[in-house]
Symmetry: C2
């Protein structure tokens, strides 16, 4: 027997219309890539998204066709999020930090028919132009009078000219909620990138989950700053969730340095911001050097890679900012596992609370998870058994776009490639990426655990641990560290720092110091580069 | 083009499994109708719901068949919420405060095949028994050894015997999320009751919306007390939302008096409770008489009828409890309009904040609304234009069960029968039920506005205003009041209290004092009874 409730699809356009109708006067503030700020409202954001949808009709982009973006977090990217998906096309957010060859590969694989780009990426666009013959429209995200002459891009249009000045409301189509809304490629350090094709349904369900108190805890009283780029996994769902609750949305464009972020957070009285640890570290370093304080920021979501305990302490104890540690990936929309306390944790001592916050957290409704051993059997939630984390839910990938190999799922579960424990309360601790685990003498060593020890040393700013081939032990761990400005630390001193903190055979054989950590396009440490670097050096000594 | 995310239906069983897997040790505490408490967990609640589902299979109840409940808020009713709907049957929550004839009519209209009832309702069941020949199974919600002898109910079974002691997991069916999960009848003061047939999808979406910070703001740190009965509109969605976030759930059974509620709230350190104004008034009266304080309660949701400003002040200013005023109805699942401040309201003075909280609130994502004039045209959101509130969304009714008349919708909108204004910020103020409006001399008078004035008098406990037929003016307002214990107030004094507070022609012609207010089965004032009472008296004087 069918229920008798109204049939209304879950659509990205309904998020925008909700914000426009019920939070029309609420601010949307964007730094402009060309300088200064663009201050608008949800109501006027909707007006411009309507105009954009009309313009896409004018370009004769068929339903389902892909529109690529190479863009920072700005109001125009925001309009593209809603106008492209809402009108039935598929938004393809491209990471502009990738190499031109990779960008071209992704544009071609997704068969983008239009590409919208910030002028900052003009040189990149000119590089990929001859490699992407199927792109029919190149659109620069700028005013018409800022369009450079002689770009060599035939038919290059400015976004603002395209938008025009009409104000006719666009009749958002009543799409099937399972239709594709967005595609985002994994950065794929091994093998070619893989496209994750989100649906309207997955976007709206993920936004509901993101807004709940145990995740981002978003309300109409918040001002929300996605430091995480909008070309990464739907900006972690913050754009959709901000519309769902009618929060003020603050967009930082390319200004992701500590000083610019601090000024923006203070000027707009941001209450919630989210980004990777390296971005937070830059912000905290800037604040420490000037003895600055937040006046409004209440919550910091940190994900992308494991947040060091020292950063949790700095934010929570020194700055009074609640750290919300989270885990997700391109394949999970991305929100799934978030670290917020349960009722039983409310009486924890400060140190115990920091230890809890250092875990990646627990499953928010909409995601289910398990850990699986090498033999494919589910492992116990005892905080000790360590296996591959697998997830499922309506906002988890079931297949990659254009995948010609077998299904990525195993028994309906998506294998994340992360290795984790789950404790009896359901809190996940990622112990490593399976490919980053170090196998020494037949035993696994967690690179994440070794990195946490190094990061706890007061002189260390960043640390990464890798396994280096060893004739007897298979692999041996090596720690690579970047020191804080002005700090001094010797190789032997750092190695001795591990004594008593990990098992003797897990202590790194060598310590290497770099001026800067090689980062991949998503801001994560590029361990492949570290492995090449270390492989070119002398073999490490044997363990004692 | 279809998205490539996992296809997982939104099902009530997934709410329970989430709570069981990820919040298994979290408490569920229920007062027992037979005395004492039943303390369990979400994990064991799931075990018993699994057993129940097996038992329903054993009774050969087909998918979609209705299982009625005549029950207070207890752990058994909770298990029925999940076990009946989760296994593919339709839970029919029946209001046991209705007259036996009405209960029998509803049971027959819904074609209930089984009815589960608290022993407190045995007399009622014996009355309806001969009227409901199609009910195949009568199940008493008690242990087997408490089953009374000689009930006259052939084949009467106890719930606990039915559940048995097996622990086999029940394989919840992968239902279509649009299939019916629950049916609830409107109390229908005019015309026969109407059945609203919820779907799994509407229940889960409503639970997501309920959990968000701008609605109930529920997390795994809460202990949640649904004072509102589980036979009213899904207990306002609190049961599902508590499972979604893994909150402690506290169930009060039949003990809804001020003293019992206060003791339960304190004993279980309840942080969030929800109920109608009369229940809150009873609680506040008890606390005032003993000078009691809450030690954990942080939020009170008040709905069902308009919450007087005096109650908002009492809770917020005296007790430090945030009042969350809300509006909904059986047809809206019920959550839709909730009063929480926006960012722009954070600096309001206390009095302004009380005035804001006295409004019913704004639309939470998932509901859209409009007000419509007599001519069917949408009215402005200016806080003045007053018209019928209409709503739509995926958790709003599209038709009644077994409806043989036309669709209740108008252009896709559900007409609520409530008359309201909406201000520029999107806040709704219900000015009246359309049938309760008083029309005097061709002008409308809001009964709610007149009641608010009387309730502001320190001697008045409850007040209701009705229109009484008048030969010259059509109708004239009359106020009916119940005084606080020990308070004294004269007819003329109460009428004079209106001077300067409403227009002169709106001042009630008469004031009548009762010892108790006649309440309908949902706890609302029975204005039909008041009209009969007043009609039997002398005609009121003419306005000055």
């Amino acid at each position: 027997m069918e229920g008798l409730m109204q049939q209304q699809p879950l659509l990205i356009s309904t998020l925008l219309e909700h914000a426009s109708r019920h939070h029309g006067a609420t601010a949307v503030v964007s730094r402009r890539t060309e300088g200064g700020f663009f201050r608008t409202t949800w109501r006027d954001t909707a007006v411009r998204a309507h105009r954009l949808a009309h313009a896409l009709d004018g370009l004769r982009l068929a339903p389902g066709e892909r529109v690529g973006t190479l863009a920072w977090n700005t109001h125009r990217h925001l309009e593209l999020y809603f106008g492209v998906s809402g009108s039935g096309r598929v938004l393809h957010t491209i990471n502009p930090r990738l190499h031109a060859q990779q960008v071209a590969w992704i544009v071609n694989h997704a068969q983008d028919r239009a590409v919208c780009f910030d002028l900052a990426f003009l040189a990149l666009v000119r590089e990929i132009l001859p490699l992407c013959p199927h792109v029919r429209h190149w659109i620069a995200l700028c005013e018409d009078d800022r369009l450079p002459a002689d770009t060599g891009i035939a038919g290059l249009a400015s976004y603002e000219a395209l938008l025009g000045t009409g104000t006719a409301r666009y009749p958002w189509p009543a799409l099937d909620e399972n239709s594709a809304s967005t595609i985002c490629y994994t950065s794929g350090t091994t093998g070619p990138p893989k496209g994750v094709l989100y649906s309207h349904r997955s976007a709206v369900l993920n936004a509901y989950a993101a807004a709940t108190p145990d995740a981002m805890n978003l309300s109409a009283r918040d001002a929300v700053l996605p430091v995480v780029p909008m070309f990464h996994v739907n900006a972690w769902g913050m754009v959709y969730a901000a519309a769902l609750v009618g929060a003020v949305l603050v967009l930082p464009a390319q200004a992701l340095g500590g000083e610019a972020l601090y000024e923006l957070i203070e000027a707009e009285q941001v209450t919630f911001a989210a980004g990777v640890p390296t971005v937070w570290q830059g912000l905290l370093d800037h604040m420490a050097s000037r003895e600055l304080r937040f006046t409004a920021l209440g919550r910091a979501m940190i994900g992308g890679s494991t947040c060091p305990e020292s950063m949790i302490r700095d934010l929570q104890e020194r700055h009074g900012v609640q750290v919300i540690h989270a885990w997700g990936m391109t394949e999970t929309s991305p929100l799934g596992i978030v670290c917020t306390p349960k009722r039983e944790h409310l009486g924890l001592a400060a140190d115990e609370m920091v230890a809890l916050c250092a875990k990646q957290g627990r499953a928010i409704f909409g995601i289910d998870m398990r850990i699986v051993g090498d033999d494919g059997h589910e492992l116990a939630w005892d905080g000790k058994s360590c296996g591959e984390l697998q997830v499922k839910g309506p906002a988890i990938v079931r297949d990659y776009y254009g995948n010609t190999e077998g299904s990525p799922l195993r028994d309906g579960w998506f294998p994340t490639g992360d290795v984790a424990t789950i404790d009896a309360q359901g809190y996940v601790q990622i112990t490593d990426r399976s490919k980053d685990l170090i196998k020494s003498g037949g035993e696994w060593i967690s690179s994440v655990a070794l990195e946490a020890v190094a990061c706890a040393h007061p002189a260390v700013k960043y640390a990464a641990c890798i396994g280096v081939a060893h004739p007897r032990w298979g692999q041996r761990p090596v720690v690579v560290a970047v020191l804080k400005p002005g700090a001094a630390l010797g190789r032997d001193e750092l190695i001795r720092f591990y004594e008593g903190k990990v098992a003797r055979w897990q202590i790194p054989d060598d310590a290497i110091f770099l001026d800067d950590m090689p980062l991949g396009p998503t801001g994560k440490v590029l361990k492949s580069a570290l492995r090449e670097l270390v492989a070119s050096r002398a073999p490490p000594r044997s363990p004692g």
